[in-house]
């Protein structure tokens, strides 16, 4: 036997994450003064907080116990029996040892745990032989093969062969249960991780277990579909290949997929993710641990939506408006020259008041810094905007983590599970602890909600200015305040980049709140009035996203020269003079400030799609072309001093 077997076996990233979580929780409970119990695991004495499970105590002692159904973020069910170990304790005045499922037994004073005795080995063999009795062992065509806990546990703890010769249970193999997830009931070991995830974490109970014994099957409620915004997580926590991703299925073997740390930019929450890529192409998104944001989860928008980086719809060639008014393909040099020529022409003939720029709330802080250096730095332009909505500009009072401790949560005018997924998951936690969670469609319903000073009021950034006044007065009267939750991945990044013209902007300014003036309206009015003759729109789509769509349409139908950077065609690029195709989040490095004010910096994961360029490089080149060469080699070179990324763990 190789030394990789048994307790010394290398752990998968998911297992290491589980063990880390146990160790951190144990320490936190100890620091919080939870009474300790002492026991001996494999000859080593350990003290753990009361309530710790034996399997967790064993992890803290550095022992290895194999498991399938146990998960540190789910309640224990003892469904798989993989975690058997010898537990010796005092019963009826006598010490006796017996084999127990350690994920269901709380550690107690004086216990002696043994994880490697011949009895334990035999029990582990037996459990695996039984689990495999009905398992199809179609590993060669199973997406999980190569990163499968069942394979790993079998090689480390399993019997070398089986005594079963009976037929295995058969089902329709790949059963789609939602747009994203395929179920293979033959492979399911009924560990109930997915069903517990659905009821305890996602809070929607969209998966259940029906029938019993060997006939047990997992699935959505009879005849329904697994429609949850969090379904993708079950793929990751399923210890076998029973739940697989329709998007990733057969896209590559897990060992060919490289994983790089990144953060999701599909919404403002900033979930920490591991981007799986194979031969330069993003193939899947997994969750990565960050206790302050996403714990270890992702939403489906992030997990599956980020596949748009591979979309054939991506822009890969710069576009320029020709003499006949049509947008035609061109090369980067021509496109950038056209931008520079117009910029210099407008600046010389009409002055800096005729120049404007709209910063990016989905790109990085650094993208905005370089935009600011060009327009404000070189040309002293002051018409620099970024906020397209009418919301008060202030970081939310309630952080993501704080919501799980709330007693009364009111969300107004949004689908929390879809719009603010990580706030939603914390609200489920709060609800499980007895909190009242209320969701109202619009401010009209606010009168019916009894607010108290402890109420946590969550509001999107897409309402009309008047709505915020209504909310503000209701919440000030109740003394609870309210939290505006930004939608975009980097809503305040442009502020930190200095687009407001503030000296040394900082995150703490944002906690206090900025003034409410919407510069975007000024820029758009200037455009439609003809006083602004050149505008650089960085990675946003004001024609679609401005509340005042009439103004936005008028602005971009004017004669002004409009430069737009974008990954896709949209209503604003359609009206542009020059369109520059830019790299996606996975193809560019930089920093983002998430919804509750955490600054996170990431590296590029894959090279930019052919023909596209990272936004910061485009801005660097434009700066150089107007005679402002900057000594910048990576985005972090321009991250304003004083901004220290909290980073991701």
């Amino acid at each position: 036997m190789s030394t990789q077997n048994g307790p010394d076996r290398p752990k998968t990233p998911a297992e290491s994450a589980d063990v880390n979580k146990v160790v951190t929780d144990t320490k936190a409970a100890q620091d919080a003064g939870v009474p300790m119990v002492s026991l001996v695991v494999d000859g080593k004495s350990v003290s753990v907080p009361k309530g710790t499970l034996v399997i967790e105590a064993a992890f803290s002692a550095g022992s290895d116990i194999p498991y399938f159904c146990y998960h540190p973020r789910l309640t224990s069910v003892g469904a798989c029996r993989m975690c058997l170990a010898s537990v010796e304790l005092e019963m009826f005045g006598q010490r006796r040892a017996s084999i127990m499922a350690t994920c269901t037994v709380p550690a107690a004073d004086g216990m002696v745990i043994k994880t490697t005795t011949p009895d334990v080995k035999k029990a582990q063999n037996g459990v695996l032989e039984l689990i495999l009795a009905n398992h199809p062992l179609d590993c060669p065509v199973c997406d999980r093969g190569g990163e499968c806990p069942l394979q790993n546990m079998t090689i480390s703890y399993g019997p070398p062969n089986t005594r079963f010769i009976e037929d295995k249970r058969r089902y329709v193999k790949a059963l789609p249960i939602s747009d994203h997830v395929v179920l293979d009931r033959e492979r399911c070991i009924t560990c109930m991780r997915c069903t517990r995830f659905a009821s305890e974490v996602a809070g929607d109970s969209k998966l259940g277990l029906i029938n019993r014994g060997a006939q047990s099957e997992v699935g959505p409620f009879l005849g329904g579909t697994f429609d949850s915004n969090f379904s993708g997580n079950t793929i990751e926590i399923c210890p076998v290949g029973a739940l697989t991703s329709r998007q990733f299925r057969f896209k590559g073997r897990p060992w060919e997929v490289k994983s790089s740390d990144s953060i999701c930019t599909k919404c403002s929450n900033g979930c920490n993710i591991a981007v799986g890529h194979r031969m330069g192409e993003v193939v899947r998104i997994n969750g990565r641990v960050n206790e302050d944001i996403n714990e270890e989860w992702t939403c489906d928008k992030g997990k599956f939506g980020n596949a748009d980086v591979n979309s054939p719809e991506r822009l890969t060639v710069p576009l320029i408006r020709d003499a006949h008014g049509a947008l035609v393909e061109t090369d980067w040099d021509t496109a950038l020259s056209a931008v520079v020529t117009n910029l210099q022409y407008v600046a010389e003939n009409y002055g800096s008041a005729s120049l404007a720029a709209i910063g990016t709330t989905t790109g990085t802080v650094e993208d905005n810094v370089l935009l600011n250096k060009l327009y404000r730095g070189v040309y002293s332009a002051t018409n620099l905007a970024y906020q397209l909505n009418e919301a008060p500009r202030r970081l939310p009072k309630a952080s993501i983590v704080s919501v799980e401790k709330a007693q009364h949560i009111v969300s107004i005018g949004m689908d929390l599970a879809y719009d603010q997924p990580m706030y939603y998951l914390r609200s489920v936690k709060a609800q499980r602890n007895g909190a009242v969670v209320v969701s109202i469609d619009s401010v009209i319903g606010l009168g019916d909600v009894a607010l108290t000073p402890e109420s946590v009021v969550l509001v999107p950034d897409t309402l009309a200015a008047a709505d915020y006044q209504v909310i503000d007065s209701a919440c000030s009267a109740a003394g609870c305040g309210y939290s505006v939750l930004a939608s975009d991945a980097n809503a305040y990044g442009p502020y930190l980049a200095g687009l407001d013209g503030t000296e040394a902007p900082s995150v703490s300014d944002l906690s206090v709140g900025l003034d409410a003036s919407s510069k975007a309206t000024d820029v758009l009015s200037g455009l439609s009035a003809g006083s602004i003759k050149h505008v650089f729109v960085m990675g946003s789509d004001p024609v679609t996203h401005m509340r005042d769509s009439r103004l936005a349409n008028a602005a971009f139908s004017s004669d002004a020269f409009v430069v737009v950077t974008s990954q896709f065609m949209n209503a604003t690029t359609a009206k542009a003079s020059v369109v520059l195709p830019i790299a996606s989040f996975s193809e560019t490095a930089g920093s983002y400030l998430n919804v509750d004010g955490q600054l996170q910096t990431v590296d590029a994961v894959v090279p930019p799609k052919a023909g596209t360029r990272p936004q910061w490089q485009v801005m660097l080149e434009l700066n150089a072309r107007v005679g402002n060469p900057l000594p910048v080699f990576t985005p972090s070179d321009v991250l304003p001093a004083g901004l220290v990324p909290g980073g991701s763990e």
């Binding site: 659905a198 009821s199 109970s205 259940g208 029906i210 019993r212 409620f221």
Partner: protein, 177 residues
């Protein structure tokens, strides 16, 4: 189509009141639903129970499908449930089941085309001392023979079905816990 009437809901509320949580009333609530839905539990019945108890539908389905005595398919008016466990088996249960199958022209687990009878293999009925035993509705037939079967089929052919649920007297009364 919802089938729970105000009366059904009153019965469910009375059941819920007996338990510390609404979820705990799930088993008796499913009996009520099975009665209201004509002897079986289609998904709509489970959904109605879920809605009334405030329990996720997937949990209700889990419980309803776990127990064989909740029917997940339409059932015959008269279900001839024949014990196939050890005591009955050694006393001729298999022969008795075969006799019923031939007589009614169906296999165990099926029901006659007119929906009057079905033959079902069940586990121990707790009447081992009078094996073989069979049960129709809530009536036991012990030391059953081919003649017993002939007679009961003749008698039941034109009788309306009795409740498939356990008699109310067997349901726990308030305060019995």
């Amino acid at each position: 189509m919802a089938k729970f009437t105000d009366d059904t809901k009153r019965r469910l509320d009375a059941l819920i009141a007996r338990y510390p949580t609404a979820k705990a009333a799930l088993l008796p609530a499913l009996w009520v639903a099975q009665e209201v839905y004509g002897g079986w539990l289609p998904p709509e019945a489970m959904q109605e129970v879920a809605d009334h108890l405030g329990v996720p539908a997937s949990d209700v389905a889990g419980v309803a499908t776990f127990y064989t005595m909740y029917n997940k398919r339409p059932v015959a008016h008269h279900r001839i449930e024949i014990c196939q466990n050890v005591a009955c088996m050694v006393n001729g249960a298999d022969e008795l089941i075969g006799y019923c199958e031939r007589k009614l022209g169906i296999h165990a687990g099926e029901m006659t085309a007119d929906g009057t009878f079905s033959v079902e293999r069940v586990e121990c009925l707790g009447a081992c001392c009078h094996a073989p035993a069979l049960m129709v509705g809530s009536t036991y037939y012990e030391n059953a023979t081919e003649q017993t079967v002939d007679k009961l089929i003749e008698e039941l052919a034109n009788m309306p079905s009795e409740s498939v649920n356990p008699p109310q007297s067997q349901m726990p009364e308030q305060g019995e816990f």
